[in-house]
Symmetry: C2
Subunit: 225 residues, 2 copies
DNA sequence: CTCCTGGTTGGTACTCCGTACCTTATAGAC
DNA sequence: GTCTATAAGGTACGGAGTACCAACCAGGAG
């Protein structure tokens, strides 16, 4: 019935057919054979292309994992915080580029428990990837292993928070929101071991600033754990 | 209305049979009929008891979700931090009580991708439950919604970090480790809007402590955002 | 041209999961 | 005893995913 672009590859036609049918009659009510028939191929070809019915919906997952890994591998010690932030941005941008397709997937996944499980499995893979790098980067800190896992969880949660707001049409500037979310998430990232925040208390005294400095220094040098 | 021990033993026999067979010949190579036969019941009874082959492995999930919800619902504003910590402890204790069964499940889930997905789906439910309460508790904070999601992710990640260490036999005192992990995770929980950490700087001066206090007070009262 | 070869596709058959439906057995309630 | 409710087993079915085979379609080589 509906015509497909001649140049579209078999995989693309299958994806398009699948989304059409899922929206028309739901995920469970659509069989693999239905999808194959609408795409004009055999059932065998469908399973050869995707391996499972779920895979039609998350085809770019491995690609994104690879890009994140690349971005993190390219970081220098001085640019690690930035790399973490940019790595999440890679994923966000991917979905923004997908546009309506991403929103269709969001609606679909939200309404089918089986797909939810599949999606969270994918998210978990992101988190593990972040954790793998962070374990190394934070290995010198006290509780470094634990903090690596927490920060990985934060990064993924922060990204998903912003992404979901965009998917639900609750923001028109998701990139700026990601900036802010990353700022909050990265409060945990303190590779130099500094306090998360510092307060300066000023009292008037007759001492010279040099004298004050001399007295402050030993206090700052051996911090309480 | 009380649980019948008879039906409980049927379920228990099925669980025992399932774990035996999974260890013997693997998850995929074991059919539902195999499990039912070894437990001495019919295939129909198996599916009535568990609904799916995966459910044999995660039978207590809903129970734990309920207990977490209870614990969080019972919190007063002053005891919320404690309630969050205790809620994760409920889950940890459950696994500790299971003992070797929990370790068998860990080995099994680790080796079967399909079960991994199922498990992370369950974890996600914990996280969503925490987030639901925290959204409300942190609603007055700047970035409260975001912070609620991050803290929920932290709590779950911290709990899982300790649990996995125990499952891998890397700790003999998981409860103490959970204390420490919660201390780190809850750094994010600052419902009163206080700074995440405070530093006291002491300089000698001739002023009385009352005079110092008088000078400090205005500084403390209007904090910089 | 025919013959061969490798790769892609479609078709058929099979196992198994999960559900629906129907029958049977057991245990009280009366 | 009978009646009824509940748990159990049995059978049949649709659909996912796999295995295997047959058909087609390149492009050489002779």
């Amino acid at each position: 019935m509906s015509e497909k672009p001649r140049s579209a590859t078999t995989k693309d036609r299958l994806v398009a057919a699948a989304y059409e049918l899922f929206e028309e009659r739901g995920f469970e009510a659509t069989t693999a054979e239905d999808i194959a028939r609408r795409a004009g191929v055999g059932r065998t070809t469908f399973f050869r292309a995707f391996g499972s019915k779920d895979d039609v919906i998350f085809p770019e997952h491995d690609l994104l994992l690879g890009r994140i890994d690349e971005r993190l591998a390219a970081a220098t010690p001085a640019t690690r915080a930035l790399a973490l932030s940019e790595a999440t941005r890679v994923v966000l941008r991917h979905y923004l580029d997908e546009g309506e397709l991403a929103r269709a997937r969001y609606r679909l996944v939200g309404s089918v428990p089986a797909l939810r499980a599949r999606e969270t499995g994918g998210i978990q893979q992101y988190q593990r990837l972040f954790a793998r790098w962070l374990r190394e980067w934070l290995s010198d800190l006290p509780d470094g292993q634990l903090r690596a896992h927490l920060l990985a969880a934060d990064l993924v949660a922060a990204h998903n928070y912003v992404l979901r707001r965009w998917l639900r049409d609750q923001t028109s500037d998701p990139e700026s929101e990601l900036d802010q979310a990353m700022r909050v998430a990265l409060e945990r990232y303190q590779p130099s071991g500094l306090e998360p925040s510092s307060a300066v208390v000023v009292l008037r005294t007759s001492a010279t600033s040099a004298a004050i400095q001399a007295q402050l220094q030993p206090l700052l040098d051996n911090e309480t754990p």
